[in-house]
């Protein structure tokens, strides 16, 4: 075979591989969309191309019979609070760790790295008992506090790594002009650290939205559920019978999230590699 033919064969193989992967990606997604437009609620009688196209399930989600909107609201409350809180706490901690020398700094950094690895799971009994003792079990506030504390080790590293790359000369120049600690933080470091703080904000917005484990431990009453727990319980009891409604509910979650992700993925990657390789 001459080189040109080899090249054509190679390119065809690559396109074929990419096509197969794309089919594998789209199949479940399109199947779900198809399900959500089926008329019946049972999975037995549903097919990927609905015989009777209907918007019933979407209508049902917004009707008073379902808690869907409530769960959506709860999820947004948790996500927004965690986003705002985590950006504030993390930037303060990261600034101190990046710019100051203090007793215990190195040990604290070691502990942060170690804690990043441990899953919430290991602590869940303790969290359950503790939240119960202080009366925060089954509240969104309790959930928010756990998320806020839990995200510190990972995100503090991420932001610290980024702030380390901001030249110290800028701080010093501001110091000479008479700026205090907070002033330097607010007017110099914070504006320059915006890209990484955006990544932290995005992570902390998405994480509570997708997390299933923690809310399923902390929240027990239906009106406090977040989307993940709500949708899971939705189909857990009568799997086959509620699936089409679940499909409709998931699509309404997935579309906005996917749009944001696809739009921001470049920043996500650069943020992660910055944190991963530079620390």
């Amino acid at each position: 075979m001459n080189p040109k033919k080899t090249s054509i064969v190679e390119v065809s193989i690559m396109y074929l591989f990419i096509t197969i992967t794309s089919i594998a990606i789209f199949y479940p997604l399109i199947w779900t969309i198809g399900m959500s437009f089926n008329q019946g609620t049972s999975l037995y009688s549903s097919s990927i191309i609905p015989e009777n196209f209907s918007l019933d399930h979407y209508r049902w989600l917004f009707s008073i019979n379902s808690d869907y909107l409530l769960w959506y609201k709860n999820s947004l409350i948790v996500s927004v609070s965690v986003t705002v809180g985590s950006v504030i706490i993390t930037s303060l901690v990261a600034y101190a760790f990046s710019r100051y020398q203090f007793v215990g700094k190195k040990n604290a950094l070691y502990i942060f790295l170690l804690l990043q690895m441990f899953p919430v799971m290991m602590a869940m009994v303790a969290l359950y008992v503790f939240l119960n003792m202080i009366g925060m079990l089954d509240t969104l506030t309790g959930l928010i506090f756990v998320y806020l504390g839990g995200q510190i080790p990972f995100n503090a590293w991420l932001v610290k790594g980024y702030i380390d790359t901001i030249p110290r000369e800028l701080d010093e120049a501001a110091r000479i002009d008479g700026a205090g600690h907070l002033r330097v933080f607010w007017s110099i470091v914070l504006p320059l650290a915006k890209p990484i703080l955006a990544v932290v904000a995005l992570f902390n917005f998405m994480m509570p939205l997708f997390d299933f484990l923690l809310p399923s431990i902390v929240l027990s009453s239906k009106e406090n559920y977040t989307l993940a727990v709500g949708l899971f319980n939705f189909i857990n009891d009568q799997f086959a019978n509620n699936f089409t409604r679940f499909a409709a509910g998931s699509i309404l979650v997935a579309i906005p999230v996917a749009a944001v992700y696809l739009y921001l993925q470049r920043y996500l990657i650069s943020g992660l590699t910055a944190g991963g390789t530079k620390g």
Binding site: S7, M14, Y15, F17, I18, S22, A24, I25, F26, P28, L29, L43, I89, L92, V93, A96, F97, Y100, Q101, F102, K106, L109, Y110, L113, L114, M117, F118, P119, M121, M122, A123, V125, A126, L127, V129, M133, F145, V146, G149, G150, H181, F210, F212, L213, A228, L231, I235, F246, V253, A254, V257, A258, Q265, I269, S270, T273, G276, T277, K278, G279
Partner: protein
């Protein structure tokens, strides 16, 4: 104050006296150093702590030691929580005390060396300067102590008790049993069988699923990066889609698709193509395991793909041109240029992927709740350690055993963490401090 007097006093000033005084009672050393305000604040603090906190600290530590003595009245688990908190509190107080002693000693030395005491305003400013990083980190660290460090300590301690449904307070008391749980785990047949099979599946799962997603992600990244491929932007967007859809949604969808009876995989693909009754995806352990690995690959490869695409684009063309001049083959270019570049830039993140899959509770639990059940075991066929712990805790309420297994998981995870320590660049920079 005239100069000779100051000098005389400075000469006679003895750091050892300051140290001893501040050990005897916080603040006395500072008084001796003539830092009256600071000294009085320290003395007041210690008095307040002695009056209010010492009793509860004592009670907490007593609870930690005994876990209660009267069944029905002492609540062992509350005592344990309280005990751990007292322990953390004590460590903080001891740190403060040590700080007080060091402070007194340093100041006495400075005075002896002839350093004039700073004015009131100057010392406030210097205090603010020194404590600023502590003030900044304090809220975050406090939160972290309560929701991360305290629960972890609690779990570690729980592993050495016999807390389960049968010893559950307030009815009865929980006791310390040393390494009893760990012994049971390796000697009692049902625990032993389950532990060995769950642990080995966890290892297989972690390695196979993660390696598959890395391999697929890397292959696709290399292909799409090939200059002969067109529509790059469109292809990239499609390939990233699985990452963009919330994972819990996808897993639940797959769980329905793989359903033995009415799932789309059996009904629309397997039966029409191969005939038969379809594959028992959810009820046969081997097929269930295959299914979760396939699903994880589907879920995980886009992240790797996006990561590698980013790195591939940043490799300078000069390298490849140099290789062309030297007559390097394509495989050689991949082996000696592309691979080292990509791996160097992403190694810590790839390790994190393995650690994440080791703890990937969501996919195991949401797909099939760890099932199908296996005869002679108290964990299901696809249960990995973390989902087994969840079941032990919330289904059978065997808290102590769950904690013991968590502790073993923690040790395995620490190995990942150790590797990460050595890899992380900024830590090496930190090391030169």
């Amino acid at each position: 104050m005239d100069n000779t007097l100051t000098n005389k006093r400075a000469d006679r000033h003895n750091p050892n006296i300051a140290t001893v005084l501040s050990i005897v009672f916080a603040g006395l050393g500072q008084l001796y150093n003539r830092r009256f305000l600071k000294g009085i604040i320290f003395i007041l603090l210690e008095v307040v702590i002695l009056i209010t906190l010492i009793d509860s600290l004592n009670y907490g530590l007593w609870g930690l030691r005994t876990l209660g003595t009267i069944p029905g009245e002492d609540h062992s688990i509350r005592l344990l929580v309280f005990g751990v908190l007292s322990l953390i509190g004590s460590v903080m107080l001891i740190t403060l005390y040590v700080f007080n002693v060091i402070d007194a000693r340093n100041q006495a030395r400075q005075i002896k060396a002839g350093c004039l005491p700073k004015g009131f305003k100057a010392s406030i400013i210097s205090f603010y300067d020194h404590s600023f990083p502590y003030l900044m980190t304090f809220p975050g660290l406090l939160l972290m102590i309560f929701v991360v460090i305290f629960p972890l300590l609690f779990s570690v301690l729980l592993a050495f008790t016999n807390y389960s449904l049968y010893t559950s307070p307030p009815r009865s008391l929980v006791d310390w049993i040393g390494i009893g749980n760990f012994k049971e785990l390796v000697t009692v047949p049902i625990w032993q069988d389950t532990f060995v099979s769950v642990l080995s599946w966890t290892v297989v799962w972690t390695i196979v699923a993660t390696t598959l997603q890395i391999a697929l992600g890397m292959t696709l990244a290399l292909m799409v990066n090939d200059p002969r491929i067109k529509f790059k932007k469109l292809i990239r967007t499609i390939l990233i889609l699985p990452w963009a859809v919330p994972a819990f949604v996808t897993i639940l969808i797959f769980s329905a698709m793989f359903n033995d009876d009415f799932g789309a995989i059996n009904r629309d693909i397997i039966i029409p193509l191969f005939g038969g009754d379809g594959i028992p995806w959810l009820s046969d352990p081997l097929y269930a395991r295959t299914a979760v690995i396939l699903i994880q690959t589907w879920l995980g490869f886009p992240f790797i793909f996006a990561l590698f695409t980013g790195v591939l684009q940043s490799i300078s063309k000069d390298w490849y041109e140099a290789a062309d001049v030297d007559g390097g083959s394509r495989f050689q270019k991949f082996r000696f240029i592309t691979l080292p570049h990509v791996l160097f830039a992403t190694a810590p993140l790839l390790i994190m992927q393995y650690a994440q899959n080791f703890n990937n509770f969501n996919i195991i639990y949401l797909f099939n709740e760890g099932g199908p059940p296996v005869r002679g075991q108290n964990a299901g066929g696809t249960d990995i350690l973390i989902s087994w712990v969840y079941k032990l805790t919330f289904d059978t309420n065997n808290y102590a055993m769950a904690a013991a297994i968590s502790l073993i998981m923690g040790m395995i995870i620490s190995c990942f963490a150790f590797y990460q320590f050595r890899q992380t660049k900024s830590f090496k920079e930190e090391g030169e401090l």
